[in-house]
Symmetry: C2
Subunit: 321 residues, 2 copies
C-alpha cells in the first residue's frame, strides 16, 4: 500500500467524511464490522464514520482494560449515547493485568497490551459478533513513527506486515490513516463530535500503562490515575498539546510527620507541539507548578516528590514508557 498524507490545508472535511463513509460501506458490503472506542479523537472519529456507513452493522466496544482515566468508560458511553451510537463496555481488566504481570520493559509491556487486546479480548469479541472487519484509528503520525522505529504503535499491525486476516481472524480498515492529528480534529468537528472529546490531549494506546515506569499493577495504575486527574484538571486551560503524569519506579526520600520516609515520585510533562514529532515543555508559571505539586502530594497516597520535565523532544519523547 502506497500511503499519501492529506495535509490540513488540502483537507475538505465534509468531502472526506462522504468519501470514507462510501469506502467503508463498499469494503464491508453487507457484512458486519466491529471497532474499539477508546474515547480519543482518533477512535471517536472512526466510530462516527463507521456508524454513518454501517449503522447497526457496526458494533462498537469500549474495552475497560483497567488502564483508563477515572470514570472514562461511563463518560464516553454517555457522550456517544447522546450522538445516537450504542457502545458496549467490555470488562477485560483481568486479562490486561494478567498479561502485564511481572513485566517492566516498556516494549514488553506494550507488546503484552497489544496481544491481550488483539489475541484475547478483541479476537473473542469479533468471533462472537461474527464480524469480519475491524475499524482502526491509525493516523499518519503513527505510521511515520512506526516506520522510523521511534514507536511500536499497537494499532498498525498491517503496516508491519502482520496478516491480521490469518493471525487474528479479521480484516483491518483504517479510515484516517492519511491524516495527522490536526486533520483528525477538523473531521471530528465536521462530524459534530462534542468539543470536550476532540479537544482533549492525546492519550496513548497503552493508556495509563504508558504512565507507569516498572511493573503495571492495579495499585500502581491507580496512583497514576489520581495524578492524571490532578494534571488534567489543572492544565486543561493551558491549551498545551499534551499533559501527563508519570509514576516513577524509583523511590525517593521524603518526610512524613517530621520523620524520614521513602515515597513515590510523580513526573509531570506538559508539551507544546504541533504534531508530536518534536516538542518543548510548556512554560508553566511557578504558581501552576506549585499547585500541581501541592495537590499531587496531598491527593495521591505515598507521593513525596513531584518533578516537571524540562527536556525537549528530541532527545526526549512525549511519553516516558
Amino acid at each position: 500500500m502506497k500511503l499519501k498524507e492529506i495535509k490540513l490545508e488540502d483537507l475538505k472535511p465534509t468531502e472526506f467524511i462522504e468519501q470514507k463513509t462510501k469506502d467503508i460501506s463498499s469494503a464491508v458490503a453487507d457484512s458486519l464490522a466491529v471497532n474499539a472506542l477508546s474515547g480519543g479523537v482518533d477512535s471517536s472519529v472512526v466510530t462516527m464514520l463507521g456508524h454513518k456507513a454501517l449503522g447497526r452493522r457496526l458494533k462498537t466496544y469500549f474495552i475497560e482494560n483497567g488502564l483508563m482515566r477515572q470514570d472514562e468508560p461511563q463518560r464516553i458511553v454517555s457522550i456517544f449515547k447522546d450522538l445516537g451510537v450504542q457502545v458496549d463496555i467490555i470488562d477485560a481488566k483481568k486479562e490486561f493485568f494478567g498479561a502485564l504481570k511481572g513485566l517492566t520493559d516498556p516494549e514488553e509491556k506494550r507488546e503484552a497490551i497489544t496481544q491481550a487486546f488483539y489475541k484475547n479480548v478483541f479476537a473473542r469479541l469479533v468471533r462472537e459478533s461474527k464480524a469480519h472487519y475491524l475499524l482502526q484509528g491509525t493516523n499518519y503520525t503513527d505510521v511515520e513513527e512506526t516506520v522510523a522505529g521511534v514507536k511500536r504503535q499497537h494499532n498498525i499491525l498491517e503496516q508491519l506486515g502482520i496478516d491480521t486476516q490469518k493471525e487474528f481472524g479479521y480484516k483491518v480498515i483504517e479510515p484516517i490513516i492519511e491524516l495527522r492529528k490536526s486533520g483528525v480534529r477538523a473531521v471530528a468537528r465536521a462530524l459534530g463530535l462534542p468539543e470536550e472529546l476532540f479537544n482533549r490531549p492525546p492519550f496513548p494506546g497503552p493508556a495509563l500503562a504508558a504512565r507507569v515506569i516498572g511493573e503495571v499493577t492495579p495499585d500502581r495504575v491507580e496512583l497514576a490515575r489520581l495524578a492524571t486527574k490532578v494534571v488534567e484538571e489543572e492544565l486543561s486551560s493551558t491549551k498545551a498539546f499534551q499533559y501527563l503524569a508519570i509514576l516513577h519506579e524509583d523511590k525517593v526520600t521524603g518526610m512524613r510527620d517530621g520523620k524520614r520516609d521513602f515515597g513515590f515520585q510523580i513526573e509531570v510533562r506538559c508539551w507544546d507541539s504541533v504534531d508530536a514529532l518534536t516538542g518543548s515543555p510548556t512554560k508553566l508559571s511557578f504558581e501552576t507548578l506549585q499547585r500541581l505539586s501541592s495537590r499531587i502530594t496531598t491527593e495521591v497516597p505515598g507521593v513525596v516528590s513531584v518533578t516537571y520535565n524540562i527536556a525537549t523532544k528530541p532527545p526526549s519523547t512525549i511519553e516516558a514508557v
Copy 2:
C-alpha cells in the same frame, strides 16, 4: 551531654574561635589529633580551628572516596595550602566502591559509606598517625535531624550512643556542634576562609552517592558528577541555598538519531531555604531550565530526559537519596 544552640544573633565569631581553640588545645593536650577535610564549610572551619589550636599536631586528610565533585581533591588541597595548612590526599576509591557494591537502599548506602569511612579508612589513618583525637564537623541541624529520625548523619556517632573510643579507637571532638549553617559561615568568614569555599552550596556527607538512585558504581557516579558540574556552573549565580543533579535508576524512552532508545534521566533540584529544615524550589526562568536541559543531554552520555523538582520540603527532602 546537654547541647544548647548558639543562635546567629548571639554568636561572636572572634570569641567563639578563641574559646574553641582553647577547648581543643586543652582536650588534646600534648597528644595528636586528626581530621578529615571534605571541602564543605563545616569541615573547613573545623580544620582551621584545629590548625590554630594544634598546629602540626593536627593531621588533616582529604579522603578521595571517588564520590566527590570534579577536581575537588586538588582544588581543596590548594586552597588550604594557601592558608598554610597541609592536607594529605588519601586514595580510598576502592574501599568505598567495594563497600557500595550491590547496594540500592539509601540507608544501606549511607551506612556502607559510614562504615568504610570510620572502620576502614579513618581507623587505619588514626592508627598509623598514633592520634587519639578526631575533629568532626557535626553541626546543630545534623543533631536535630538525627534526633528527629529525619536523617542518619554519618558524623554524629556519639549522639547516637556509639562509643567511638571503644568501637573505633579514638575520641571525637565536635567544635561546631552548637552552630547552624549560618553561624558556621560567620565563623568561616572570621577565620579568613576564602569566599568560594564557605559560600558554596552544601554538599552531603555521602557526596555523589547521595545523587545516584540505585547502585553506586564508578560509571554511574561519573554521570552524576558531569551533571553536577553543569548544574553548579549554571546555577552558582542564583544565590540559591542548594542546587544538585540526581541520576535516576529508572530508564525512560528517548530518541537518538531518529530512533527510539532508552536512556537516563537526570533530576535537577534548586532550593530556596534558610536552614535546610524547610525549602521550596527556586523559581528559575525557563531560559535557565532549557539551558540546563540542553547542556545535560549534550554533555552527559546517555541522558535523554531532564526534570526539575517542583515539590517543597516537606514532604520532599533536599536530597533524594
